[in-house]
Symmetry: D2
Subunit: 399 residues, 4 copies
């Protein structure tokens, strides 16, 4: 994908302005994308042209060098406009953000070569120029538990062969490349690595996505049966996946928390709009619902921003990771609770398709279901509150 | 509609058996009806043939003479199998149940003639023989508040002319007649009467129903512009509507409570089935969700049955009416809460269309939104707890 | 204790009337008992004189032969008047109810002799004549898990020696005899038996009870170091305790559920009274709180009565036991939720000591904490919903 | 009160360190103060000696010149150690904070003289030197609604006479002066002014405070019948009270929010400690309770700090005031919810007096009851969400 029409963002502030500028257009198209379960191609054309696919590209590569906090601000804005678009954007952000924030020293310490660093920079430059990336991690019957993946890779000749079926691949069929998690076929213990797989031969998208909410994400099943060059191995190091889940949980656990707070915000604003239009503001029960929703959203939003600040200031520490899991828990729960209450505030007319609350309600319910689910988050935080190591102490493997 | 193929139910027990016998078929078709928003014609053919449209027909007219408790048992069963079918059935049951349970003496005391009693019996006999009735009460911008209706009737020649637009008319286009609430055009104070309007000329169905849940109810908008004979006036008495809302609130407020408890039951059972199939029963958080759902459903079910018993034993008393409003409040809240929790118990896979939980979740959310909404119920019950007359004491007119 | 002044109750209905007659007196003394943490001796003198200690005594022994449903109705009434009195009464009822409802055939099948049956009748006759019994089961650090008890008994000479320290012994120091659970000292596997231990030598009460709520129950620690005749062994059979927990869970799990529904009812009624006195009924948020409390209490009450009916109709079946656990879960949760909300309805003045809501709030919080706690109940019910055997399937031993 | 032993705090950071240093001592004494309902005199001797009574004294008067954010950090710390001490401290902070943050220009614009400014500085200097202030605003039957106050003042001779009975006067009998709200006796419309009334003649404390929680605050009734000099009128301006409630709602609405978040934090930490000591960390239901509590507390804490930052950055704006009301709502609700859940996590032993959770549970319940109650906050925020002016739009006067 050429970068010909892609704007250069000079700063994170410009990125936020761009998101705010595009938001009304995204919001206007959201109902149609939901109804048809259609990928928001126009949204992504606009995001790309505005330079927003390069949000995490560092300044040395010509990007705005956004922090996690910068990203969270953008994601809140996009989520408020169009949840599914923001979710797909989030997956791209997770890939580019993880690439941009993995220290060179870490890659080198793990045995990654300079060539791996160059490959990483090549990917970031592609994002800057408008390439869109997706993540292929989950599998049916396995969920997001990396240690249980059935997709495998084997070393063959001058490269790898990767085979398996992935599910919930947001953006499938609309991206330039996939970050795929796979385990080494030859090993007994779970060695899980990441590979960059370009769209094209050996990547077959099954148009299976048809869901309650977030219907425009094209989170289809994807079958991979593909040969890859050595450079396709992320960081040039095997076994990176479980390590990244521990030290950068934000990308697996909470990067989309901001999206769901955005969705909840949209639901509150929409309910207030409809209540005003219909003269329902005089009803005390409605006011109580709106007031409590307002406080819950504000709290979840502050938790998301707090986690983002912690990720920026001291990534990977136990305190930061707790903040990350909290943000996920609260964003998922608050979105579902608020959207449901807003439906009750407005009444039966809000359940008609075409009423924006009907769509926001379905979108909002999905947050707590995405891994890590709210129950898993609560267990993690409970272990941490007990002073235990929540990465290790669970009864079930988390990843 | 001829009664040629319609079975004669000798007792309420036989009716319940028939419902149980038909339930698997209803359940098997529910997903398709939901997907297409298609009226469950086959379901109603089976219900009719089994004699279930005559559930409330008294023994003296050859029916099983079911009580409200008998109806609740049937509605729980149907709601567990197919919520939308049970909702449409509920509207028919409300009409026939109200007809069957209005004492002759009350109609006579209000000035109704013997001819009105004969007309009532004619309608019940038609139900016995397989006629299906709908209710046309709500209007856009008015909701279910009878005192604010814009549909009017005027006396003209040897009959009435009735004109107006109704919304949320479940079963529209698929029934033999509509019970329509309308206010006297010539009067300043709200005199609201009920009319029986046969399907056909002067009744235009707008296929507008497209909703979050309960998608198969065909609750379309219907425009009436129709001349009616004198006999079409229910009970032969004007002004009956507000009176019935007071003395038989069960038909407006709580007859569908049983349906939503049925839907909640289906959600719990479906979640247990999926959890077992996927080996998730070992997860304590899932067990806690199922256990709490089980208790909530049992409680709501007992409240529905308690209200039904009260309606049968002493209809229209303040204590009975409180039980009725409680049943509505609990059924609506429990259905939404349980279905949402079951989705969380199973996780992201439950949000796929085609997974029964996805549909049940949408169906379950609609209960608390139907009038009287949960907030309205809570206010009613609060007034009653304070010793006030909840029919009179609200800040807003309830009907 | 002589039965000289003890009334003979001819029927359960008379028992309920007696409870209703005594209730105002109990309620009037409740505040003082709470303030001083004083055992309600006057309450029990009145209950005894009215014949209520003999509620479960069968007709063949001159008692009213109450069912569990009869008991639940009495306990609701007493709990509404004075929670702690009702709780102590509940322990006595558990002992006498279990005695009365254990079939002769079961005792015989387990190897119990006729002498054991005679001894049981002697105890029931004592209750009829005014004896009050307590239960000594829980131990510090063990809770109510029978299989972990540290109190032991050994066979010595023509009897047993029983030694150990019990906690939460409601009525300690005010009863005529204690039903004590102890394990056989000589056995590796947990053989847990029940013994009747008369108050007196070898029974030392530590006045340790000083609690958040239910302060008048005298639930002190009690140290037993006592020799007992052979007849003291309940049913004449060792190992009865775990068996009874399985087949009569009502006595361990749910007999006090009715008490807590009574407390919740008192809280709602008291809040309505204060709201009326202060003219707060016009506040919509208060009305909503009262209305939702009313519905929750009604639901919990119906679950308690439903469980009681099931116990009477088919004791010990899986369906009955589920109803029992549900009743416990809902009663405990509803009491705490309602009392807390009533405090918010009335505001700061309700938190003054001397305001009845302050006391009811503390009393109400204790229900879910008593074994089986709400979390344990939810797990039990979750297992049952999954079709598993909830008596066996828990991760932790329940008893 | 002489400032002889009072430390000089050079900065807010030093103040926070002092609070952290004193916290263990406060915590160690908290149980005794609660049991006896005894004012924590030793706590206040230590707070005074550490200079913490002068927290809000500006630098030009030799104080650390703390911001609202600085105060919130201190109050969180104190509330975590001893809720009642933190609450009394909060009242003092409200007085001194309001004094310190009222702009000279505002006082002058309202007609306040230079003499009023000098008097204000004199009071701040007294706080710096160790004087402790209380607030006497609420009245029985009136609550905190300023417009309904029955305490009056009249101009007499060279001063005022102030008469009335106040309730909930935290610190009564232990402070050097009271800030008293009273209305002008001669006026029909409510002109409510503030007066500084020194302890001593004309101030009679009724030792009436005996409450569910926060028992050590000595929030007694106080009767005022006292002559005052002209300087006693705060700001030298009549009618300031309602104005301050609008432009500085933080002092009435949310300054104690931080205290309750501190109490909730203490409850979580205490539950984790007890769970660890008793080996309960293996219980998934306990971990879930701790985990959700952790997230809720973090969210409420962030809302409190966010409101504080807003108050510092742009006091009195609509956005700031919303943040203030949100903080109050969330802190009160979260404290009650968390403490109740922690009791359930630990079980019956946590309900024993002497177990810190028992005390924390009672303390925590009081937050949502203090004005503005949670229901009032929800209504305020609901109006704001609707775009209405929440200061004006309520059905009931808020102040």
């Amino acid at each position: 994908m050429s970068g010909a029409n892609v704007a250069v963002l000079a700063s994170p502030a410009e990125a936020l302005e761009a998101a705010q500028r595009l938001a009304p257009g995204l919001a206007a198209r959201a109902a149609r994308h939901d109804a048809d379960g259609e990928f928001p191609s126009q949204d992504f054309a606009e995001l790309r042209d505005a330079g927003l696919l390069g949000l995490f590209v560092p300044r040395r590569l010509g990007g705005p060098g956004a922090s996690f906090s910068d990203y969270a601000a953008v994601a809140l804005e996009l989520g408020r406009a169009a949840g599914p678009t923001a979710l797909v954007y989030n997956m791209h952000a997770s890939v580019t953000g993880a690439l941009a924030s993995t220290p060179d020293a870490l890659i080198q310490a793990l045995g990654g070569s300079n060539r791996a660093l160059q490959e990483r920079d090549r990917l970031l430059a592609a994002a800057r120029d408008g390439s869109l990336f997706a993540v292929a991690m989950s599998e049916r019957g396995v969920g997001a538990r990396l240690s249980k993946l059935k997709t495998t890779y084997t070393r063959e000749g001058e490269g790898f062969v990767l085979r398996g079926e992935k599910s919930f691949v947001s953006g499938a069929g609309h991206v330039d490349a996939y970050l795929v998690a796979a385990r080494a076929a030859a090993r007994d213990e779970p060695v899980v690595s990441y590979f960059f797989v370009p769209a094209g031969d050996g990547v077959r998208v099954e148009p299976s996505w048809d869901s309650l909410g977030m219907r425009a994400t094209a989170s289809h099943d994807v079958t991979f049966d593909v040969g890859l060059p050595l450079d396709a191995l992320l960081g040039g190091v095997e076994g990176l996946a479980l390590l990244l889940a521990q030290v950068m949980p934000q990308w697996l656990v909470a990067s989309y928390a901001a999206v769901y707070v955005g969705v909840a915000t949209a639901a509150l604003e929409e309910a207030a709009r409809q209540a005003t239009a219909r003269g329902l503001g005089r009803l005390p029960a409605l006011r109580a619902r709106l007031g409590r929703a307002d406080a819950q959203i504000a709290a979840a939003r502050l938790c998301v921003l707090d986690a983002a600040r912690a990720v920026d200031a001291s990534p990977g520490t136990p305190a930061t990771n707790r903040a990350v899991w909290r943000a996920k828990l609260l964003a998922g729960d608050v979105a579902a609770t608020v959207a449901s209450s807003m439906l009750e505030a407005i009444g039966a007319s809000a359940s008609r398709r075409g009423n924006a609350l009907e769509r926001l309600y379905r979108d909002a319910r999905c947050g707590a279901l995405q891994p890590a689910t709210s129950d898993v988050c609560a267990d993690y935080l409970g272990l941490a509150a007990l002073g235990a190591d929540p990465s290790a102490g669970a009864d079930e493997a988390r990843w």
